[in-house]
Symmetry: D2
């Protein structure tokens, strides 16, 4: 009767993010995932890939064994 969850310290998009506004995106991931909210977090396209910049997660939703995060890009990696 435990509830499986996963602690995440990076956002890995696998290019599944959807743009909502200029620099605001949503991303859905499998499972219940705990991310820091309103704290700068690194964002990558793949787990092993380069950093794409830094984001602030503004909203997290858990439902039906899915997690949807809404995040704002706050800085872009200058090498991109």
């Amino acid at each position: 009767m435990g509830m499986p969850m996963e602690l995440n310290t990076l956002i890995v998009t696998k290019t599944h993010e959807k743009r909502v506004q200029e620099n605001l995106f949503t991303l859905q991931k499998d499972g219940y995932r705990l991310y820091p909210i309103e704290i700068p977090i690194e964002i990558r396209t793949t787990l092993e890939g380069e950093t794409r910049g830094t984001a602030l997660i503004k909203k997290i939703e858990w439902e039906n064994a899915k997690t949807t995060i809404t995040y704002q890009m706050i800085s872009l990696n200058s090498s991109n």
Copy 2:
């Protein structure tokens, strides 16, 4: 730069819940609160009060330092 949160093992409504459907309710609480989702959880009107029954949390949303849960009542305390 830590993210304060609170682990909750009860739903305490303080009568602030809103009915969405027959036995589905939403409740907004201050802060980022972690509840078990899809696991039976006791529900009370006040922290020190009697149990009102058992609910299943179906959805949790965290945004702007508020937590909104959507829960389904699955059993009512027979003494109510």
Copy 3:
């Protein structure tokens, strides 16, 4: 690179607990498990079994994909 964990709202001993003192026990479980600490929590021998009483978890240790809790029994189910 996420860290799998499990939120637990019950202690299920499967009779693997070890007595440390009069009413103080330790129990090791697989995986990284999050329990409420210093908050009354129900204790059972099996997940589907009857309640054995209420405990307070005093210490949680996570290491090598194991969780060890130290808990104090604070009330026993009178039917036992």
Copy 4:
């Protein structure tokens, strides 16, 4: 009856760490803090300071409203 905790994505030592072995340290922090375990995590002396390198947390203990982590340094910032 909620349990306050804090999600941490950095280790900030404030030079309170204690060396246990060659590159293994312990650090005690106030409150119940959740850190990723066995996942590379940035380490700093102060929250606003420069990175000192990367560590792997090997053990987390919660007791008496304190968190004690044991971590291994896995890389040092070359500018130090």
